[in-house]
Subunit: 340 residues, 3 copies
């Protein structure tokens, strides 16, 4: 439901040419926005990528629907046929995304250390602090209220939306996008007990973030104790993810919200990690591992595949009975063996 | 323990009249603050709402105790009898809450886009940024360090305590209260894999928050992909709650800290959701559902009632045995059936 | 890997004298930085504190290794012998920690209420707000973007790195260190239901934090309803920890990331609480309790020792079978008893 008088508009034929799709139906159908199958009107484009939503297709009033070849016949109006309808839809919907009216230039309130280096076409918002020895790459946008400490590097074309903190020794690659409240490069949680009191272990490493990573709101990535905490390229972290010091996350891995990864864990490439997963430190997860939400990962996972734990919620009475039985399980098993 | 020379003071009779309570004992007893049963002195008022604290009643030195009729005889001194003692106490204690000395007016350091609209009697603190097309309703308080992006609406009488971010297309109703570090309207976590790399799916929706909602510190509510993420009226979120894109939360639902709700889940009205609960996406929770803390909700819940999961902690040795037995459970069950 | 031209350097003998260690090998060996056993070069110092890393010792190129007496013979080069090698290493590595180039003085952009008190040698960064009646102790550093509300006290020698919020009535002891995004003193989550709507219960208490506490990034500590939420001295909280109102945490307790503690829980001294643990409200945990990561603590723990819950993740197929068996457990147990 995102159209406005100034929205651009496109015909099915124009979109097909632009994104190498096939038109099914009337190529002159014109749309000026995108919407869900059930919410779209005749001037909007929608998509069908999951067969469970096929019943909504027949009833959709969408002007154009992006879908796979197998579904084309079922489209009530104009369709655009794509190998991967969700990808095609993502590309099309980007045409309708309002450009952020980032003012450009450096706001007069920003406090930038004289030893910092600011690239060409950088936009720096109000109330931004940039510390000594830091560099901001060309074309990057540093939104309002960001704090960039000492010896940080922001690569070209990055976007720190607002109120992001890079504490110290944080190096971002190109096109990294960081959402508000994220904190990169805070001290890792390193403590030694001495004579009954905690002694802080200095955290001398940094954080290294590869190209095209995205980091969610209020997510934290601590800096390493001796070496760096590392995200390889194209890692995608949702909100409120916690990454301990010296963790390494392989390229193209995506991690959903509220997941915590303890220090020195090594996560492979192309992993999909669900929400609220807990991963203990000093273990290894292979490439292409899928971990479902709320799983507790306490050992290394050395083979690709899907891994899970946790017992789904049931009504409270059944759950209480189950917990009682689980507590008796050892006794029950012994009795059973004794009775054999 | 919150009295100060300038605190107001009230007699039992005055409070009874103001809040429609019944005095039991001496109506001229005067209090100038509130405290717990065990901590209160003769110039303070306390309350008893839970029978488990009844033993503390006899020993309390409180000048006045708010309680139910059944407990009145046990009060050692003056009592105020209420149908709901906790509600009556909440109303009385608000009399002793120090008004925040919000300076009023717009701080000279605030950066407000010329196209933004600021209502009457709005207070805007230092280091606040307000983006193009946004509106701040009459009587609202925008505390220090808040960032309000583009096309946001803050209703009348809202309070954004400090360092709150509304990224874009966030619409707050009236009297919404948001605590520091909360981020509303960040991009939802929408990704499509194309040729081995993640493609970002534009998040074109917004966030809509009803009247009288309260949103805790460092809580995140992502904006919708195509339609809005919605909180109906009087929803109460604790700290560090994560709400994915396109979630809808029904009116009067309360959610405790650290709970995560994945995208497109629909939560009913008058639900009570405990802390650190995980709710997967695209499911439905009926009205008046209670979910206990740390539950893993992976299926829709269509009937009101209390739901739970999780095994409470025990000593590590017992737990290790239990985990081993759970791993053998399938084998045990097969052996048992084979032995029938 | 943290050496730079301006790094200080030390010989083994100098370090031995400074930290009461014993030199094994060549006392003139000089190092100018610290690193891991496998990453260190001849100009760096490393350590061995855990026997599982002993195989790396023989291959290490480190100029100096700090280790226990039992491992001295195995050191390939110069060694420094320590009772507690990790503690000795922590102290040595602090010599190589770059001092933060905190400018000192009060930044011209800071907004400080005239009734606030600022001690000697305080450093206040840009975009800091300090509210009425608050005090900043001598030698404290208030980093960029911090918001300190009303009637807060920051003790001597504290460091608030950046973007920390102390909402109201927060009292910090000496040498407290708080990482970015942390929120102390927000309203506790106190609600009463009245006539179908939530009524907010005023939160009149504060937060009291003892000397030498450390509080992680984006961690929240709510203020108490009537009395204070309390951290005793030397408590260490990692990132994204959530502490509800009226919780009390005993001295020297350490809590890993993503753990949530509900209101009015009392945690003992010298506890070690793992990551993503959930602790329900109004219970008691004794001194010297260890709780492993992701445990669900729903009852008081009155004896020291190690406590756990949660089932570690397995492959998805096995997990599905296990969940099915757990659901049948009550039936299975009944059948077994009936068959006795």
């Amino acid at each position: 439901m995102n159209t406005s008088p100034s929205s651009p508009s496109f015909t099915a034929t124009e979109l097909a040419e632009r994104f190498s799709l096939q038109v099914h139906g009337d190529g002159v159908t014109r749309v000026s926005g995108v919407a869900t199958l059930s919410g779209a009107g005749p001037e909007q484009l929608s998509f069908l990528s999951n067969s469970r939503y096929r019943p909504q297709l027949a009833e959709s009033r969408a002007g154009i629907v992006v879908l796979g070849a197998a579904d084309a016949a079922a489209a009530p109006g104009t369709a655009l046929i794509a190998k991967n309808p969700y990808v095609a839809f993502a590309r099309i919907s980007a045409l309708f995304e309002a450009a952020t009216s980032q003012a450009g230039g450096i706001h007069s309130s920003a406090v930038i250390d004289p030893s910092a280096t600011i690239g060409a076409n950088v936009s720096i918002g109000p109330f931004v602090g940039i510390g000594p020895g830091s560099e901001i790459g060309a074309g990057s946008v540093i939104g309002p209220g960001c704090v960039i400490g000492e010896n940080c590097v922001v690569g070209e074309g990055c976007e720190l939306i607002a109120r992001v903190t890079l504490v110290a020794r944080v190096r971002l690659g190109k096109r990294v996008r960081i959402h508000p409240g994220a904190v990169l490069g805070a001290d890792g949680f390193g403590l030694a007990m001495e004579a009954g009191r905690w002694l802080k272990v200095p955290q001398l490493g940094g954080v290294s973030v590869g190209d095209d990573c995205e980091i969610g709101a209020n997510t934290c990535i601590d800096r390493g104790a001796l070496e760096d905490t590392i995200l390889e390229e194209d890692v995608r972290l949702d909100n409120q993810v916690q990454i301990g010091h010296n963790v390494r996350i392989g390229a193209h891995t995506a991690i959903a919200g509220c997941t915590g990864i303890a220090g020195s864990a090594r996560i492979g490439r192309y992993c999909l990690i669900g929400g609220a997963v807990g991963i203990v430190g000093h273990l290894e997860i292979a490439d292409k591992v899928i971990i479902t939400g709320m799983s507790m990962v306490s050992h290394s996972i050395l083979e690709p595949g899907e891994y899970s734990s946790g017992i789904p919620a049931t009504d409270n009475k059944t759950w209480r009975k189950t917990v009682a039985r689980i507590r008796q399980l050892d006794k029950l098993a012994r009795q059973f063996r004794a009775g054999d």
